[in-house]
């Protein structure tokens, strides 16, 4: 309903813009008919016409863009609200249960585990949101140091395995000969973790993720994360890295997320002088995400 409302607003402003341009044109035709003998007035009219029309067009473009951005922002607020409130609701529910009911030892232990999981999830969302602020264009300087890429990847693998309770074989690692990159450990770790986390989240019930590191021409190191999951349509391959962006459709509601993860990956890559991109043969055929960072000299 809200989406339809927005589309209507956008259509309204585009029509309004087109209408204003039309009125200006008609006025100009009148002006030409009245002043066709006076060259200077005709010239002035053309200049004014160009100015007015470009003003209207620019205004319309900015309005439409602003409306779209607002829509994305709303979707983000909704997603973050959900991601923050759900774990809190769960922790609170279990705490109240433990407080008000007699719970046997096994159940009690299970409840503690659930609450720990939820607090991890909560912390993850909070870190993601805070990091988005930190990796933006006008943020603090990088704390550059040589990092052993393999170590970061293994660390992230262990963390993601732990978080999603996965067996070792569902996350495969194929390392290249050890390379060291120049980067900010905290940020690189976050970027790699985000890629792994996404691969697992969008894999569905059967997780089969392969992580490979590569040395590209002795200049760059790349982390390739391949999953056999939902895949991405061609048109969305670039979009997914935008802030707050989530591929529309049923998957976005089934897999919970804030639309920040890949934005962080791309920002981190850019800040390090590298890049990040996605490859996919289409929906249902898995996808590969690549993070490429410069090697330490």
């Amino acid at each position: 309903m809200i989406v339809a409302g927005r589309r209507k607003t956008i259509a309204f402003f585009i029509t309004l813009g087109a209408g204003l341009v039309l009125v200006t044109l008609l006025l100009y035709i009148g002006w030409v008919l009245l002043n066709w003998r006076h060259g200077i007035l005709l010239f002035l009219g053309i200049v004014l016409l160009a100015m007015i029309i470009s003003g209207v067009v620019l205004n319309t473009i900015f309005l439409v863009r602003e409306i779209r951005r607002n829509a994305q922002h709303d979707a983000f607020i909704n997603a973050v609200t959900h991601e923050l409130k759900t774990p809190v609701a769960s922790i609170r529910l279990y705490l109240e249960t433990l407080q008000t009911r007699a719970v046997d030892e096994d159940k009690r232990k299970e409840f503690y585990r659930i609450m720990l999981d939820d607090s991890d999830r909560l912390l993850g969302t909070i870190e993601q949101v805070l990091r988005t602020g930190r990796v933006g264009p006008s943020s603090r300087k990088l704390n550059l140091a040589p990092i052993a890429l393999s170590e970061v990847v293994e660390e992230s693998l262990a963390r993601v395995r732990n978080l999603h309770h996965l067996p070792a074989e569902s996350l495969q690692y194929e390392p290249c000969p050890p390379v060291s990159i120049l980067g900010d450990l905290d940020e690189v770790r976050a970027a790699v973790s985000n890629l792994l986390d996404n691969a697992v989240k969008y894999s569905g019930s059967e997780v089969k993720v392969t992580v490979r590191t590569e040395n590209i021409d002795g200049k760059y190191a790349a982390v390739r994360v391949r999953d056999e999951g939902a895949g991405i349509p061609q048109t969305e391959l670039k979009q997914v890295f935008k802030r707050f962006y989530r591929v529309p459709g049923p998957l976005a509601t089934r897999v919970k997320g804030t639309g920040l993860g890949l934005y962080i990956v791309r920002s981190v890559a850019k800040r390090h002088g590298g890049r990040a991109w996605a490859e996919s043969e289409g929906p249902g055929r898995g996808s590969t995400f690549v993070l490429q960072l410069p090697l330490a000299k």
């Binding site: 959900h82 529910l93 279990y94 249960t97 659930i114 999981d117 509601t253």
Partner: protein, 245 residues
């Protein structure tokens, strides 16, 4: 034992709710998607007494689930439970047909008290519908059983007996049937049924009743596609015929 349907895709919350509601003595069923919930409700034997419904569900969201339930004539008390506590969302939930709306995180004891409240209201409603004052024009009807052909209707037990088979029916289905039997042989309009069985006086979509008739026909008609007892009166509504000639 009251049956509660919990529609929640967050496993932790669903399990926590199940544990607590079971501790309260309810029978709990968890559905993870809106589609699954609607399936559960359609199967409805035995029927659920209360639904706890999340909004942000994969696939169909909670708002469309409740709207579809109400449209299909399922008036099971429903409490919506959601992270979206914005007044607009609350209003949307109530407009779609929710009976109560709680924002997450919620207070467990209050949530349980509210579920209990909904169940209590349902009990009151059940007893008041059962003993509703019969309009003066209607023939008196205080029978416990009505028999026609080789079928019999057990009003109090909420059962239909066809030969040696027994079909449990819901309260609302029984009320519809009781009403039609009361006016046996006479056509009854959909609007009248909505007013007298459901107590609805606004111009609701009266097609909701058709779903009840379809289900009742499945029980009592030998061939539900060619009904002989529950006959459609075109442009008006339905007529119950006890012994078709």
């Amino acid at each position: 034992m009251s049956r509660v349907l919990v529609v929640e895709d967050e496993q932790h919350l669903a399990e926590g709710l199940r544990f607590n509601l079971e501790a309260e003595g309810y029978q709990v069923h968890v559905a993870e998607t809106g589609e699954a919930a609607l399936e559960c409700l359609k199967a409805e034997s035995p029927a659920f007494d209360v639904v706890v419904l999340d909004v942000m569900l994969p696939g169909k969201d909670g708002f469309s689930v409740i709207a579809e339930m109400r449209h299909a004539g399922q008036f099971i008390p429903t409490l919506m439970l959601t992270a979206r506590g914005h007044p607009d969302d609350v209003l949307k939930g109530f407009a779609a047909g929710a009976d109560d709306y709680r924002a997450k995180p919620f207070d467990l004891t209050i949530l349980i008290a509210r579920i209990r409240g909904l169940l209590r209201r349902r009990e009151w409603l059940r007893s008041s519908v059962n003993h509703q004052t019969i309009p003066a024009s209607a023939p008196q009807d205080s029978r416990e059983r009505f028999t026609f052909g080789d079928k019999s209707v057990e009003f109090e037990a909420l059962e239909l007996r066809v030969r040696d088979q027994v079909f449990p029916v819901t309260l609302m289905e029984m009320n519809v049937l009781r009403y039609l039997i009361r006016y046996e042989g006479k056509p009854v309009s959909r609007k009248k049924m909505l007013e007298e069985v459901w107590g609805l006086h606004e111009d609701t979509d009266t097609r909701a009743i058709d779903n009840f008739i379809v289900r009742l026909r499945r029980y009592i008609e030998d061939d539900p596609t060619r009904p002989r007892h529950l006959v459609t009166v075109r442009g008006v509504g339905y007529r119950f015929v006890a012994s078709p000639g």
